[in-house]
Amino acid sequence: MLIATINGVKSANIDELFYYYLNRDSIVFNLSTGAERFYFDNHQSARKAADQFFEIYYKQLACIPDNTGRCYLVNVAKVISSSVSGKIIIIDFGLITKSIKSISEMRSEKDNKYLSKIVFSYNFLSNIGDYDVAYVNPSGAEDYTTISDAVEGVDEGAAVIIRAGEYDESISIAKDLVLYFEEGSKVLRAIGGSSTDSTIYILGYGDFENISTSFSVFGNSVSGVDYNSDVYVEFNTIKSGDKGFWGFTGIAKGFKIIPFGPESIMLDSDGTVDFDIDAVSIYTERDNTFIQWSTAPGRCTIRNAFVKCTSTETNINSWDAPRMTAYSFINIRMLNATEAPGCRNFLNSLCEINENVYIYQSMFVAKGDFNFFSDKRLTLFVYGDCYCNKGANNKFLIGNNILHVDSELVVEDVDLDFNSELINTFIMPLTNKPIKSKYTVGDTVYYNNKGAITELTINRVVVEVDNPNNDSEGRQVNQYGFEEINDLVKESRLFTTKNSLLKNLKGNYLNVQQDDIQHRIVINSINSAVSGSTIRDLTGLYLIGFDFTHMDEIDNPDTEFQFDGTVMCDDTSFEDCTLPAAVDTKAEFKALVKSYDKDTTLWTDGEPIGI
């Protein structure tokens, strides 16, 4: 396939491909000849090219997300085997091995099962010699003329090949079986199953056109259905009068779903459902594109879907008695073209329990209100580059819910073709950062080095700025290096004076406290309760933050400060204090005072005294 990139038209060869993935404005193809990155003007152009590639080769591509939201499109034609170790999916391509780390062990198990099903499907025709095979041909030229007769007639584990033609019959499968529909085969009624623990594959290019009001694939309209059946369905198109699927447990991979009724994909059951649908294009003019209605806990994974809905209600819905426990949307684009304000696009859960919704590298566009809504409580986990627009009514609502953004969520205005210019809100731009650090190279600071107060001289400053909260402030982290210590030390662990560090470490032992009632300061246990607070020696004390304003309360004798019994200050401003006559240079002052702040202690010239 030829792909137009910003640096010319390039060829992407599926035969050489192991896997590819979207990375912002580029697609990375991992080929037998090495990795190659194709660049595009913007993210949407790259996504569109990636989607076009997928649309051509969807049958042999499996989409697996990692724990950062990156979605790997794996060429199953190259897969030798795959396995799971905890959260890691290990894919052996022969020449290379690719490990993909999932967000959870459940996710890795589900994705590996999904991958193995597609590998099985892709290799089925090559391995057909391993099966007892029966052929269905409505012309009567082969083994059977109806599918139901073939299903009834073959043994467990057999394969049935369905030739082109129309099949207007009810089909019920109750055994392990592979049905392969060749191109041109068309099924006009529901397929159902009543088997327990059966492993069933419906493969190929079948068109399922059912104009009844209840199109059912392995649904509960069939008596005695067991939701534990292991079902994998591939299809070309589904044209449904009502529902695409009903009561389905398993994996479905196809291309186009065209529902006429109110529900495109309906999962309705009285048992636990675990539904995984891949590679579908859905256009619906009615409500409820994806829906879950079950009285037991269920899960639904939707991958590589392009959905356009013009309904006034929801695209994604689960309601009433359901016990859906998790939706996962992986690399999907979903558009609700309804302009009506107040419509609850995308998610509407009236569940009685909390739901988790996981979104990977997906795009949600609403022409009307954009609304992730839950009457109860919905938890959204967003991974990778996800896009949500605000909608025409400028309402971006995540009602009653919790939003976890593990990497990036872009909320922007994009038009219905997904190609308008981006409004970049990835990270709010900062200005004038970094600001000056508290200390600089050459400064002497004190540090608690494994219990010993150590005097250190800074020999390097490392300042990092980022914006984790995406606000206008950002975050600045100052760290300092020293000759004596290998690791950088954070600013909060350094002190200007030895006493300030000591106070930080042993404040209570120094008995430094302030009585808010009597406005007393008691230091080193020297306290004259009758005459007020007494301070014998201020040398080395770190008094920043002490409030002396109460000394104005001259009627309160407890506000007096004394040195060796001499009242130093009683309603007297410290501005009147003078240095001893012997002190007339900075050096003499520093030798006498010993503890001072180099920045806030002003010398007689009005400038900071410095070190």
């Binding site: 910003i6 640096n7 990375n23 912002r24 404005d25 580029s26 990155r37 660049y39 990036e408 970049n424 990835f426 990270i427 709010m428 731009p429 900062l430 200005t431 004038n432 950062k433 970094p434 600001i435 000056k436 650090s437 200390y439 600089t440 190279v441 050459g442 020999n459 390097r460 400053v461 490392v462 300042v463 990092e464 700025v465 980022d466 914006n467 950002g474 180099k598 920045d599 900071p608 410095g610 070190i611």
Partner: protein, 81 residues
């Protein structure tokens, strides 16, 4: 001995879009983190992390404000030959 630090406001701020050269092609990226380093000789250097490039640090000399700046850079280099 200095009183003020020598930390400077970085040329590119967190959130700014910059351009780098990757495989001979200009690529836009957003600055996600900056790191300013002042060493014992009072030399200051700045490095940048860009979204989509993990924990890799880029030197300021590798970043350009516009695609045109890259072109100018190469033209100047050509002129120097």
């Amino acid at each position: 001995m200095k009183y003020t630090g020598t930390l400077s406001v970085t040329t590119h701020q967190v959130g700014d879009t910059v351009y780098i050269i990757e495989n001979d092609v200009p690529v836009a990226a957003v600055v996600s983190k900056t790191k300013s380093l002042v060493d014992a000789d009072d030399n200051e250097s700045v490095q940048y992390q860009l979204t989509g490039y993990g924990a890799k640090w880029f030197y300021e000399s590798e970043l350009f404000e516009t695609k045109e700046a890259i072109k100018t850079y190469f033209e100047d280099k050509t002129d120097d030959l």
